[in-house]
């Protein structure tokens, strides 16, 4: 028992200490709820602190949990800013009345119109595409054309894609509901299920690996995962990534599906000025390069060049829909997946 007493007393002291530092707080601060977990983000925020003397407090978590938390905290919320890795989620926060409009010329200049909310409730910060990745050996790129073509019989038993519980798939299907209507989207999802090489399992990287191991020939996945694999610390993963090539679908037609991670100002913020300063900073030329690079994504700021790797994949035409639609049709998309049996 002595072991227990000594240890717990010491730890109670530690806890009380950390508690007091928590409630004391700094003078100038801004509280950020985010679901990005990259180490470089921390370096970026440190830079912001240094420049402005505004302390940035960070709470990380899943975007849904964070939205729920802001919702429950109501008027008293300690959150000033919310960052999520999906436009649909930002839209949900807006719909729940958790965000407020920001009319700010710096942000308007830094973030193109289609990458922010129609009413300026949120702003994109980085862009990724959901593309087709194919085996260099077994697929001739001339076989590939549009997303719709994936339901063709020639892809039977060849398509790899993760489960429908994943937000990226939901947003992809939501974009089709907006562009082609619900019926088309349902047929598309059913057609892809028919052509799947296996039941959906694992994450995006697992789909890429499954191409290399011959389970299937093409995979639907986000651009940045290939970037991560090419820079993996596991040499075998690098080898796998080198057998694969990116194809941007629907270039002649509706464009490739894109999504953003973005930021919104909470309705009940207590540090509005500081929060907007941080928004401006994150969209600035100085921050954008590092912010996007951390996750092999495309910067939103048109004055910042994408990294060399991303440039080497070439330019592409994105879907032209406003990204708010991804959130609007999220639930419909999820229900379609269930109906057609996309696990």
């Amino acid at each position: 028992m002595r072991f227990l007493n000594k240890g717990s007393i010491l730890l109670i002291v530690i806890l009380v200490f950390s508690f007091t530092t928590l409630i004391m707080g700094a003078e100038e601060e801004v509280n950020l709820y985010t679901n990005r977990h990259y180490d470089t983000d921390k370096l970026l925020l440190d830079k912001f602190e240094e420049k402005t003397n505004i302390k940035v407090n960070v709470l990380k978590g899943g975007s849904d949990e964070l939205i729920e938390k802001i919702d429950r905290e109501g008027e008293d919320t300690s959150a000033d800013l919310l960052i999520t890795a999906d436009a649909g989620r930002l839209h949900r926060a807006k719909n729940k009345g958790l965000l407020q409009q920001v009319e700010n010329d710096t942000l308007f200049n830094n973030v193109p119109e289609n990458l922010r909310d129609t009413e300026n409730y949120w702003f994109g910060l980085t862009v990724r595409g959901r593309v087709i990745v194919y085996s260099k050996d077994r697929v001739d790129p001339s076989e590939l054309s549009t997303y719709g073509d994936l339901t063709d019989d020639k892809w039977e038993n060849r398509i790899l894609v993760r489960s429908s519980s994943n937000i990226y798939n939901q947003s992809l299907l939501a974009s089709f509901i907006e562009i082609h209507g619900e019926e088309w989207a349902t047929e598309w999802a059913a057609g892809v299920v028919d052509n799947m090489a296996r039941k959906p399992q694992g994450n995006d990287r697992a789909q890429a690996t499954a191409i290399a191991s011959g389970v299937g020939d093409i995979a639907i996945m986000n651009t940045y995962y290939l970037g991560k694999m090419l820079n993996s610390s596991n040499p075998e993963e690098v080898k796998v990534a080198k057998q694969l090539e990116i194809f941007f679908p629907s270039q002649e037609t509706t464009g490739t599906h894109i999504n953003v991670s973005g930021i919104g100002l909470t309705k009940h913020t207590k540090n509005k000025e500081n929060a907007i300063k941080l928004m401006e900073y994150l969209s600035s030329v100085e921050a954008q390069e590092m912010f996007a690079k951390a996750n092999y994504e495309y910067p939103v700021n048109p004055n910042v060049e994408p990294s060399n790797l991303l440039s080497s994949w070439g330019e592409f035409k994105p879907q032209s829909i406003n990204l708010s639609k991804l959130g609007e049709y999220n639930k419909k998309a999820y229900m379609i997946f269930n109906r057609v049996g996309w696990k």
Binding site: L22, D64, K69, D76, S165, G214
Partner: protein
């Protein structure tokens, strides 16, 4: 009037308020159950519910079964036989408990998949490319393997502790009567240790039902993934609550079956001198086969995953910037020790009241105490959040200070959530401790004129130390590994090893998460070892 509901002493008063406190968040949640049925619910019932039930039942049944087979057999072997390193295995076989199943699953997938060590080795040295389905662990049976190999120690731990104390005289009598070892195992050991392994298996089953990480990664829909999905993807918290109620009903059935199988049987001893069983020395092939069995289990559940994590840590070491490891480690140790201490204190207070005051009210305490374990982390999180925000509103009202969240932005909210979630584990250990010592000594002390409190500290507590310590250990490890609650309820700038390891893994940076997972496992191992050390010293 107060006497009627059992307020006859300090213990029952404190217990009563503890129970009310623990119930509050569930009440806030259950209110949602009475909301009208939505279209979403009809959609779930039509397309999804069958899968949830099927998968959950299969996972629970087979994981439970295999955990009993592995846990009980090993517990018996290390007690009854002296084989190669059997003394080490007595505590070594608990080690898989130090590995959170979700880290275990990432590790096994990484090990077995196309870019993993095994296939890479075969491919690069022998140009051997095997059918991928041989290596596919991301299935229902794969999940059963992962759960069994990382959770069987619950069964092993409790059964081992029981056999160590209780089996000697019975086994020796049977031996003198000429019973064979096999007959002793099936006719004596299995029946008498039933309470112990059923208690262990219950913990395993509840862990499986609540686990989110493994099934989500493997793409298997169970109740726990569906609750998150309904809540988040469909934005329908009421249907999520409806599913949670289904899950809770499922758990209550499991707990009921446990009570039923324990029946009225209680094996407690009236003498305090507990004689350990004398282990039989094994030689030859018997010695080796027993060693190989124990070693294989330990390798699968601990050695292999840890080696894989060490390898990943080495290759990714340079990539991790800004680790700030020390703070993270202190946070992890801090919350788990303080949390488990509070949980054990609460468990002792409630269990002691239940033991002494047997009435309708206290009978239900035990059920309420273990209820939290059946509610998925995310649902508890919401309940606790609502509860704390209400209390904060109340504080604002009294203090007249607006816009301040005193309690809900503090670490207390998280620790309170741990209390609800893990009280069951602490309570089970404490209860089994009380059961083991029986009530004879307690009653003797009371007859001599000592009060309940004095009797507890002078008589009950000293005899219960091992049970309390094992409860403390189990809860600490659980909190150390806990994810959903910590993710949602932690205060600003507060990271633990589990949350950081998960964040990396969730971003598909499994190599980068390895070093944090390793430290987490290392701390758990220290907890496991210090328990056995204290136990040995105490004897």
């Amino acid at each position: 009037m107060f006497k009627k509901i059992g307020f006859t002493n300090k213990w029952s008063v404190i217990s009563f308020f503890l129970i009310i406190l623990i119930l509050m968040p569930s009440v806030f949640i259950l209110i949602g159950f009475f909301n009208p049925i939505s279209d979403t619910w009809l959609h779930i019932r039509r397309y999804l519910l069958k899968d949830y039930i099927y998968n959950s039942v299969i996972l629970v049944f087979f994981t439970g079964l295999f955990s009993i087979i592995i846990g009980v057999s090993l517990a018996w072997f290390v007690n009854a036989y002296d084989f190669k390193y059997s003394n080490f295995f007595k505590w070594g076989l608990i080690l898989p408990l130090a590995v959170p199943p979700y880290i275990g699953s990432y590790t096994y997938v990484g090990l077995l998949n196309y870019t993993g060590v095994i296939q890479t080795f075969l491919r690069n040295n022998f140009e051997l490319v095997l059918n991928q389905s041989y290596f596919n662990i991301m299935s229902l049976s794969g999940a059963i393997f992962i759960y069994t190999i990382f959770l069987y120690p619950y069964v092993f731990l409790i059964t081992h502790a029981f056999l160590q104390k209780q089996s000697a005289s019975l086994v020796e009598v049977s031996k003198t009567l000429g019973k064979s070892p096999i007959s002793i195992f099936f006719r004596i050991i299995l029946p008498i240790s039933r309470g112990a392994y059923v208690a262990g298996t219950t913990l395993v089953v509840l862990e499986v039902l609540n686990d989110y990480g493994v099934v989500k990664y493997f793409g298997i829909s169970t109740f726990s993934t569906s609750i998150f999905q309904t809540w988040f993807s469909l934005g329908d918290i009421n249907s999520a609550i409806r599913l949670s109620v289904y899950l809770m009903a499922f758990v209550i059935i499991v707990l009921f079956l446990e009570k039923l199988s324990r029946g009225g049987k209680q094996y407690s001893y009236s003498n305090t001198k507990i004689k350990p069983l004398k282990a039989k020395k094994l030689t030859g092939w018997k010695n080796w086969s027993m060693f190989i069995y124990a070693f294989t289990v330990l390798s699968l559940g601990f050695i292999i995953p840890v080696l894989q994590l060490i390898y990943w840590s080495i290759i990714s070491y340079g990539k991790i910037l800004n680790m700030n490891i020390i703070q993270t480690v202190l946070n992890s140790i801090g919350v788990s020790l303080v949390g488990s201490f509070i949980i054990l204190v609460a468990a002792v207070i409630i269990a002691n009241t239940v033991r002494i005051k047997k009435n309708i009210l206290t009978k239900n305490y035990a059920r309420i105490a273990v209820l939290g374990y059946s509610i998925p982390g995310a649902v508890i999180a919401v309940g606790v959040m609502i509860f704390f925000l209400k209390m904060d509103n109340f504080i604002q009202l009294i203090s007249g200070q607006n816009n301040m969240l005193l309690l809900s932005s503090s670490i207390f909210m998280l620790i309170f959530a741990y209390l609800i979630r893990f009280l069951a584990i602490g309570y089970n250990s404490v209860e089994s401790g009380f059961n083991k010592i029986g009530t004879d000594f307690h009653e003797a002390s009371r007859t001599l004129g000592n009060g309940i409190t004095k009797t507890f500290f002078k008589v009950d507590l000293p005899m219960m130390k091992p049970a309390l310590m094992s409860g403390f250990l189990l809860v600490s490890i659980e909190i150390l590994k806990e994810l959903p609650l910590t993710l949602i309820l932690r205060p600003f700038n507060f990271n633990t090893l589990a949350t950081r390891a998960f964040e990396y893994a969730n971003d598909e940076m499994i190599h980068e998460s390895a070093i944090l997972s390793l430290i987490l496992i290392f701390i758990s191992v220290i907890l496991v070892y210090s328990l056995t050390y204290i136990k040995k010293k105490g004897r």
